[in-house]
Amino acid sequence: MADATTAKSSATASAGQPQLEVLEREELILNNRSYAWITDRICGIVENRMPLLWWIIFIPSAIIALLGVGGGLTYLVSTGVGVWGNNNSLMWGWPIVNFVFWIGIGHAGTLISAILFLTRQNWRTSINRAAEAMTIFAVCCAGIFPAFHVGRVWMAWFLAPIPNANAIWQNFKSPLLWDVFAVSTYFTVSLIFWYIGMVPDLASIRDRAKNKFRKFAYGVLALGWRGGNRQWRHYEMCYLLLAALSTPLVLSVHTIVSFDFATSVVPGWHTTIFPPYFVAGAIFGGFAMVLTMMVPARKIFGLEDLITMKHIDNMAKIIAFTGCLVGYAYLMELFIAWYGQNKFEWAAFAKRIGADEDSPYAWSYFVMMFCNVVSPQFFWFEKCRKNLWVVMGVAMLVNIGMWFERFVIIVTTLARMWFPGDWQYYSASPVDVMTFVGTIGMFLALFMLFLRFLPCVNIAEVKWTLLSSNVHHDEMEEAKKAAGAKCYEADGEVITGKRTGGNC
């Protein structure tokens, strides 16, 4: 890469063209891979035997999921919601911490798929499929907690807008009901987006299938896709519309989750910064989870040419950026609590940060600060972004930190509500821990099944990013040579050496 660039610039210089350095864009797919290679590599994952490491991750996570989610919830339902350590004043406890944590994880998937699609960021193509899968699985994990936290889970249908036995309707002015609509819409739309994006790739697997069962199963899933341009035309419009719909949707979901807190009058929650702060945090945490899953998957399945260091670098930069946003939000929230001179608000914050004699949860605040604000700062340095161990380490810390962020918000506030008589130390019960760990197992197991049975990289879109897929590629190359220029705009207009911008 570097050699080619240098050679080109010296050639331009000798031709008497302007000397301005033109930066070449890093390739998204390395080593000039062919269409067939890309299909082969990605479909190969689904067709071949799974490597040992896959089994090493899958089996324990499936067991943890069964014991934790299956066992934990069976015990909860058969005994009563009291087995969760939700003390009287802390009736939100872990369940809501875990709910907000998981729902946040999902956001990076939709962000990568929708917002980066609308902004024409082609680097998204290698990672969007896995990130969308993550969204689906994370929302599945998230849904468990509020559903079971209502106490009598068989009454969860009360959330749906149907009148109950007394003809009383749901309170549509409550953020908790808004949440029901937001999360279920988010799940449905993400699922549609994920599935529709996968249809052409499922057709690839169908066409390569050797045995009858696979042919039938993938045939049904591929809906009879043939890749005719008359189909692609509607398909692309469909994808664009779904992206345009998901973009405000993803921002609305965490905004509405934050309304659960922000519209209350509880000190520590009643904050107008919550909606943007929650959204930034969700993207931050979600990207960390994408890295946590994709860095090992890339290694295990040999996808280095498709998911390049450039992709990881971009994600690391997004984490650094959103980490700064989150850090700003933490400090601003604190500043307003102090500057606003509301003594209840300040009392809540003083207990949160350890400025009060009685601040039993200050440790969690500092865990959060370290993980979310300090650790991403490593990503200012290119060396750290290029070192996969550092990248993984920071991503893990961010995952932990984002869980603690929700813990800090919920527990530090509720544990010290208005009546000192209610004050007590909150600790999660073993069933709490078991269920949460279970959802981690469930998430991993589902992700492993996804890698096993579905195309984990968007084959059609990756092919589309190859230079040779542009029908004007040859003409542009020729025009470029003729003009002595090094780059051109996407629509084929040649830029002479003078400009450094453009699509180079």
Partner: protein, 185 residues
């Protein structure tokens, strides 16, 4: 060798690169064919113009889908909260002016209905799902989702002619030209 009644579906020709396919498509368009399609494993940009196709009508349907969602949400909320069973919770009023409280649900249902319209509209417009298609009879057509680029001209096109169409396809650079037949019984 399959026997029984067969019906000619049309000709299938393969092209080497997306650029070849693009150029050939423009020629098929200029020749005046109507019932034909260019097949590739990824969307080729500029192909709509090369095939003489207009913009997809999908957004038109989605607009109405979305509006249905908005109206459903407003009817659901005003109907239940103002007309059927007004409940005053936390001193929040229930009347026609409480609309700010109804924004989140209205937004969500608008998005939900639009997404469903997008999904089903796309399927309907591209005549999916279907499990069988005459082109699946062709062995080489399996490459369409891998690295094959094809043009298929259907027999029901008024300009279709067994000899001339075949010649025409090879003239514009098609290779492996194949007469695809549909198995009827």
């Amino acid at each position: 060798m399959k026997t029984g009644i067969k019906k000619v579906y049309g000709y299938l020709a393969r092209f080497e690169t997306p650029t070849d396919l693009y150029k050939a498509a423009a020629k098929v368009r200029d020749k005046g064919f109507k019932k034909w399609d260019a097949y590739s494993s990824f969307p080729i940009h500029g192909m709509d113009a090369a095939m003489g196709l207009g913009r997809s009508k999908l957004p038109f349907f989605v607009f109405f889908g979305g509006m249905t969602g908005t109206l459903t949400a407003l009817a659901l909320q005003f109907g239940t909260q103002v007309a059927l069973y007004p409940t005053i919770v936390q001193a929040k009023p229930t009347n026609l002016f409480t609309i700010p409280a109804y924004f989140p649900v209205t937004f969500e249902l608008t998005v939900l209905f639009s997404a469903f319209t997008t999904l089903f509209g796309m399927l309907a417009l591209s005549q999916l799902p279907r499990m069988n298609h005459p082109l699946f009879e062709s062995e080489q057509f399996k490459r369409v989702t891998d690295d094959g680029f094809f043009i298929a001209i259907e027999a029901r096109d008024p300009r279709f002619n067994r000899e001339q169409t075949r010649e025409f396809l090879s003239e514009i650079g098609g290779s492996d030209i194949e007469l695809v037949e549909e198995q009827l019984s």
